[in-house]
């Protein structure tokens, strides 16, 4: 008897006339993640025939945005006797004595001669007749067997929670500023969940940071790519800019000026690659460069919208998500992700835009930016 995966998609239901667009996107994403499976479309459902790689497929599906829930179902003919026999075998295959159960039946195939309540009663009755020590509980059962009578009958016991959100790509493209710390991968994940296709940029300051820290960013991008699909990662050489800022600008402003340079470079890369927004992991008040005044100054450096999905999050909340999405352990590897040499001991927390712009003008910013972009390394990171 074939075991297959039945996928239930989430918010896409709400999308009215655009629904086919979202559905197509989701199915493409599933195909990219599971290239060797056969996917069939049913009413409100996809059926995935995995041909033996069930566990791997389940693990991957859990990371595909747009899927509300899915289940591993057995596919049977629409024959009540056969279905009842199979449900009985499912019960007998587990410790059932002293436990309660429920048959949850649905019938979208109106050619089937019984109503859903009748189906549930018939199967439940058959099970009760053929077992001892099992009772029915319709509100809080220990075991639930779901029977969906559709083109075929699908029987399953467990609903697996999907990643939710919207299919990646349905929300456009955006460029994530990825530092290697805890926050930025979480910010990327959150936007990917809302359907954004991710691009990433990392600012690399060798020798103030090491090859190891770059590898760490590649590892984080790889984890993100498991959710968002292939990610293009741009590694921008940033040392010269940092040194120039340090040499030519007042030290209390170096961090904020550095942030503005990062945003400007990111914006240029975003535009070149068709990204409509930037994404950062900033959370209000977390550090000096993330106060409201600092964010005003940073935002002023660019014209693209900047998404900051973590803006209202406490650090603990961010850490919880990082743990759930498996980026935390990599994020806390101790290689320095930003050079402390260039971090002033007393950075300005309430910078004034005019003063910053004035301080910044000591550098030929455009020239530095052009040079950094020309030397940028582009890596394509694919999920394992």
């Amino acid at each position: 008897m074939e075991q297959l995966i039945m996928v239930k998609y989430g918010e896409i239901h709400l999308k009215g006339l655009n629904r086919p667009f979202f559905e197509r996107m989701l199915i493409n994403n599933i195909k990219k993640s599971l290239p060797n499976v056969k996917i069939e479309k049913g009413e409100g459902r996809y059926y995935i025939h995995t041909e033996g790689n069930l566990n791997k497929a389940v693990a991957r599906l859990k990371k595909i945005f747009g899927i509300h829930a899915f289940c591993v179902a057995y596919c049977l003919d629409n024959d009540l006797e056969q279905i009842s026999e199979f449900c009985l075998a499912l019960i007998k295959g587990r410790e059932y004595e002293g436990k309660s159960f429920k048959i949850a039946a649905t019938r979208s195939n109106k050619k089937f001669p019984m109503k859903s309540t009748e189906i549930a009663a018939a199967i439940g009755g058959y099970i009760l007749q053929n077992t001892d020590g099992l009772r029915v509980d319709l509100t809080n059962p220990d075991i639930t067997i779901t029977v969906e009578v559709r083109e075929k009958a699908y029987v399953y016991t467990e609903n697996i929670k999907g990643a939710g959100g919207m299919p990646v790509g349905s929300g456009g493209n955006a460029l994530l500023l990825l530092s290697g710390g805890i926050d930025s991968p979480v910010a990327g994940w959150m936007m990917a969940k809302r359907g954004v296709k991710l691009y990433a940029v990392h600012f690399y300051s060798f020798p103030y940071t090491s090859e190891h820290s770059k590898q760490k960013v590649v590892m984080l991008t790889e984890i993100l790519s498991q959710y968002s699909g292939e990610v293009e990662l741009f590694v921008v050489p940033f040392t010269e800019i940092q040194e120039a800022i340090y040499t030519k600008c007042p030290h209390q402003y170096t961090t904020i000026i550095m942030r503005r340079f990062m945003m400007k470079i990111a914006e240029a890369i975003a535009r070149d690659n068709g990204c409509g927004a930037l994404i950062t992991g900033e959370s209000l008040g977390q550090v000096a460069s993330q106060t409201l005044d600092s964010i005003i100054v940073t935002d002023n450096a660019v014209n693209l919208p900047v998404f900051r999905p973590l803006i209202g999050f406490d650090k603990n909340d961010i850490v919880d998500i990082a743990r759930n999405i498996d980026t935390f352990e990599t994020s806390i590897l101790p290689y320095e992700d930003c050079c402390t040499v260039f971090t002033p001991r007393h950075p300005a927390t309430h910078p004034n835009l005019d003063k910053i712009v004035q301080a910044e003008s000591a550098l030929d910013g455009d020239e530095y930016i052009k040079k950094a972009i020309a030397a940028t390394e582009r890596l394509v990171i694919r999920p394992d």
Partner: protein
């Protein structure tokens, strides 16, 4: 780009060509299990016996007092946990030991042992008095390293062992010899040292091989169990290729300990001179030839982060270390330097330069890159 100038030989060394050939030969011809009963195995067994004999000769001990193992960390664990054998006894150990000893002693402390920690003098050496003052009749084992892996400080382990045994003749004296073996002359047979362990990859042999000397009659039990290999001390089929690679390195370098030491002293002096030509650089530990290994040099250029300097040298194909490789992935300063009383800011500037066997270095190139790097980085101090 210039060739790689490898100055991190305390972390590991490049296997010498003799070791590489011996390993290849072992994989190709001598792959039989030395414990099996046919002629081919006996031949492998004989090769191992010859290597054991040559190591024993180098250290002036009996052949049956040398046991092969996987290297330094295993040797340290074998010495401590093998001698403790699960009992809650008293240990005396220095605070500047390699992590393999240091962490093992922390574990022993958790298991109920009493650990007396001996701090180094400001020159990073362990004084004889500091140890003898701690020894009591309850002391079961003392572990003091031969050569410190970060500063190169040489402890007078022969004298410390002798003085400790005068107070408590039953005490077991262990010394981690990983940075001393084949680098400094040592007559273990004439000493009162009971256990001394070494590693192949620090002497231009392969990783995953090493050995331990345990004086006949020293009560040391196995730390893992299985077959009767290594005279019942270490279960598990021997790493024949590793042992043969180590054997080749020992054959190659054992005869030249003294001459090589003298040559390396000159090399180290050259580096010291060029480093001192840059203002505000201190040597962590000391530089006198008697008390410091010629193979290790630890320096702090003020106002520069060691890690950043390391990467700047790396950019010029010069490879050095900050702390020891086993602990340098953790943030913070070196335990050894801080135990010596070196302020954090100086310790964070430290880099370790360590020399290999019979190597020559382009000192002018090093001097140039070192000076330029330090001067450049000093422009960017944190304010």
């Amino acid at each position: 780009m210039d060739d790689i100038m490898y100055l991190d030989n305390c972390a590991t060394t490049k296997p010498c060509s003799e070791a590489v050939s011996a390993i290849r030969e072992a994989l190709d011809k001598f792959w039989f299990n030395p414990s099996a009963l046919y002629r081919q195995s006996a031949e492998v067994g004989q090769k191992m016996k010859d290597i054991r004999k040559s190591i024993a000769k180098t250290l002036n001990v009996r052949e049956d007092e040398i046991y092969f193992n996987s290297g330094g960390t295993e040797g340290d664990n074998q010495a401590l946990f093998g001698a403790l054998s699960g009992s809650k006894k008293e240990i005396i150990v220095s605070t500047i030991e390699h992590s393999a000893v240091y962490q093992s002693c922390l574990r022993a402390e958790e298991m109920g042992c009493t650990v007396k920690w001996i701090k180094p003098e400001s020159d990073s050496r362990i004084s004889v008095n500091a140890v003898t003052e701690a020894v009591t009749e309850k002391t079961h084992i003392i572990s003091i390293m031969h050569v410190n892996n970060e500063t190169g400080a040489v402890n007078d382990i022969e004298l410390i062992a002798k003085a400790a045994k005068k107070i408590n003749p039953k005490v077991i004296f262990h010394s981690d010899g990983v940075q001393g073996f084949l680098k400094l002359p040592l007559d273990l047979g004439a000493s009162q040292i009971d256990i001394y362990n070494f590693s192949a990859h620090k002497i231009h042999g392969p990783k995953g091989a090493g050995g331990i000397y345990i004086k006949k009659g020293t009560p040391v039990k196995p730390i893992h169990y299985g077959g009767p290999h290594e005279n019942g001390l270490r279960a598990g089929t021997e790493n024949v290729p590793g042992i043969m690679g180590m054997g080749a390195a020992v054959r190659e370098f054992a005869p030249s300990i003294i001459t090589r030491r003298n040559e390396t002293k000159k090399i180290k002096q050259g580096f010291i001179d060029c480093i001192k030509s840059v203002p505000d650089v201190v040597i962590n530990g000391g530089e006198d030839e008697e008390n410091y290994s010629p193979y290790v040099l630890n320096v702090s250029p003020f106002g520069v982060r060691g890690e950043t300097l390391l990467h700047m040298l790396e950019e010029n194909n010069i490879l050095v270390a900050t702390g020891s490789a086993c602990s340098s992935h953790k943030k913070g300063t070196s335990r050894v330097l801080s135990e010596m009383g070196i302020p954090d800011e100086v310790a964070q500037s430290a880099i370790r330069i360590s020399f290999g066997f019979n190597q020559s270095y382009d000192l002018a190139r090093f001097a140039d890159v070192f000076k330029k790097s330090v001067m450049k980085l000093r422009q960017y101090r944190r304010h």
